[in-house]
């Protein structure tokens, strides 16, 4: 009796969030898919299609159906290759930097030293900084070639200051974004290091295991799983980096896929093209998501 009642209540309790998420997912996605097959420009929503493409079909709102032309246009746009390359470089570099330095920093924070709590919060802090703040602070106060801090350091060593954003825009964005995401990797790897069996640690110490082989044979295998989690979760967020590029004005040289979609849609008003780009981004993200979901699903069973 009670279980039957609880179960009905349970369904009632779950349904609002399911319905809302369902709408949040299905409505925009299906609209994006639909738009991606339209010749739809906000400035000129109902062009005379027959002039553009003889024999073109119209939808209910007199917008021209475009078939796959938005996709072929987006996929052959040189800007797409550039943006795709930038997306991949950004994700790849930031992942490499954050996993490598995250591991080292986590190992460091796992040692006993004075003021550990304070050092830990200092190392985590960048992750809590608003993306627009970190973008502007890095661009102006650190990387400015005339009066930025890095220029000051270079000059005091008698070196030529680097004009970061003019000559290395993508590298600048990568450094900035890595600074924000290294703490995330550190935090997760540290959490997992601290769950390493104390007895194992002591046993290794008693046996006089050299630190390097201790790391290689005991610590690293233990860290593989959290590392995978870091890689997958960071990938999802890094594929969507936007504010850093928007704010620093590096769209041309360092713009990634999300930014290109934004440019197509909200700047050039080409809804059809932007939607096709959006769908391509969704497909890419889904490939990553597939692996992440399997990881987390396994964890749910354990």
């Amino acid at each position: 009796m009670a279980t039957q009642q609880t179960r009905t209540l349970g369904k009632l309790a779950v349904s609002p969030s399911v319905l809302m998420l369902l709408m949040w997912m299905l409505v925009p996605l299906s609209m994006t898919i639909y738009f991606s097959f339209l010749r739809y420009n906000l400035l000129d929503p109902n062009p005379i299609c027959s002039l553009l493409t003889p024999g073109a079909l119209l939808d209910a709102e007199n917008r021209c159906l475009a078939g796959f032309s938005n996709y072929s246009y987006f996929l052959t746009d040189p800007a797409f290759f550039k943006a795709m390359g930038n997306s991949l470089k950004l994700v790849g570099w930031v992942l490499a930097i954050s996993v490598a330095s995250g591991t080292l920093l986590a190992l460091l924070l796992d040692q006993a030293f004075y003021g550990r709590g304070f050092v830990r919060i200092m190392m985590i802090a960048p992750f809590l900084v608003m993306p627009t703040v970190s973008a502007l602070v890095w661009q102006n106060m650190l990387m400015d070639p005339v009066s930025g801090f890095f220029a000051f350091i270079s000059k005091s060593f008698g070196l030529q200051p680097i004009d970061w954003f003019t000559y290395h825009p993508l590298a600048s964005v990568i450094i900035m974004v890595a600074w924000q995401w290294v703490p995330f990797a550190t935090l997760i790897l540290l959490t997992s290091l601290q769950s390493l069996d104390e007895e194992q640690k002591e046993a290794a110490e008693m046996d006089g295991t050299p630190p390097l082989s201790y790391f290689w044979y005991i610590v690293l295998p233990h860290l593989i799983r959290p590392m995978t989690v870091v890689i997958l979760i960071e990938t999802i967020f890094l594929l969507n980096v936007f504010a850093e590029i928007y704010v620093t004005g590096t769209a041309g040289p360092a713009g990634n896929l999300p930014f290109l979609v934004y440019q197509y849609g909200l700047i050039a008003n080409d809804i059809g093209g932007a939607s096709a780009g959006g769908i391509i981004a969704v497909i890419l993200a889904n490939i990553v998501a597939f692996f992440l979901m399997r990881m987390i699903g396994k964890n749910l069973e354990a």
Partner: protein, 275 residues
């Protein structure tokens, strides 16, 4: 001897760790320091520590631009979206943790998968819907988006916390003849509060720093601090001290919350995969 060696080792590690920590923390520290300079002093690093300190930049930021309005928007958006998300998520997570059905696991995975969708996939329709319904640059519109955006994370996090509440306690209270309402109010709620508080904390941080939808969908009236800071990207004249003051005010509350929420960050952002 051995003891001395271990203390020496600890001192070396301390010096090294503090150095690394300060290097990583430096951009934030530098921002805070610069915010207490005049504009002229802010760009002269060579004489940075020999010139005076002032809170002038803060009052300029305050008086010239409508800082308070942006800050208010940030607070309203973060708290509002968190509040509504919790109202919807708590019953769901509750039901899935204590009355799981056959498909609960699939449902959880599906909820997680909505988080995987890149925002650009939804940007155009949401923008058009917002435009047509007059929701662009309104607090209500942004609160809805932020709420939906973080709902999966919130449900997951609450679920992992609720899962840790032992089911035997429920059975015991039922045996004692407690009604469902009493069971919820007196037995479960007190045990769930810490998990709910942690979730709340994490979500405020996420909503406060969200900078895709807030940049794309707001311009002025509902614009939070992300947008306010972004307006500094096309500056006129000297602006570092003002930028620093505005930035310091934008990140300080979250740094404080983050201090309390370190563990929750891990659990929430890994969907319970790392605890």
């Amino acid at each position: 001897m051995a003891r001395n060696a271990s203390i020496r080792r600890k001192l070396v590690v301390t010096a090294f760790a503090w150095t690394v920590g300060l290097v990583i923390f430096f951009p934030i520290l530098w921002t805070v320091l610069t915010s207490f300079k005049t504009e002229g002093d802010a760009i002269n690093i060579a004489s940075f520590f020999s010139t005076g300190w002032t809170t002038e930049a803060y009052s300029v930021v305050q008086s010239r631009s409508n800082y308070v309005q942006f800050a208010m928007n940030s607070v309203i958006l973060a708290l509002g979206s968190t509040f509504f998300a919790l109202v919807i998520a708590i019953p769901s997570a509750w039901a899935m943790a204590f009355a799981p059905g056959k498909r609960t696991k699939d449902l959880l995975m599906w909820m997680l998968s909505t988080k995987m969708m890149p925002p650009v996939g939804a940007l155009i329709p949401i923008y058009l819907i917002f435009r047509d319904f007059g929701l662009l640059d309104t607090r209500g519109g942004i609160i809805t988006v932020l709420m939906l955006l973080n709902l999966p994370i919130i449900i997951w996090m609450l679920y992992t916390y609720f899962k840790e509440i032992p089911g035997e306690i429920l059975e015991a209270s039922r045996m004692d003849g407690a009604s469902l309402g009493k069971e919820l109010l007196y037995v479960l709620t007190p045990m769930a509060i810490p998990g709910i508080a942690s979730t709340l904390l994490l979500n405020i941080i996420l909503a406060w720093n969200e900078a895709f939808w807030t940049l794309a969908l707001t311009t002025k009236d509902a614009a939070p601090l992300t947008q306010f800071i972004a307006s500094y990207s096309s500056p006129e004249g000297l602006f570092w001290a003002k930028l620093s003051a505005a930035s310091t005010m934008a990140i300080a509350p979250i740094l404080v919350l983050g201090w309390f929420a370190q563990k929750q960050l891990v659990r929430g952002l890994t969907f319970g995969a790392v605890k």
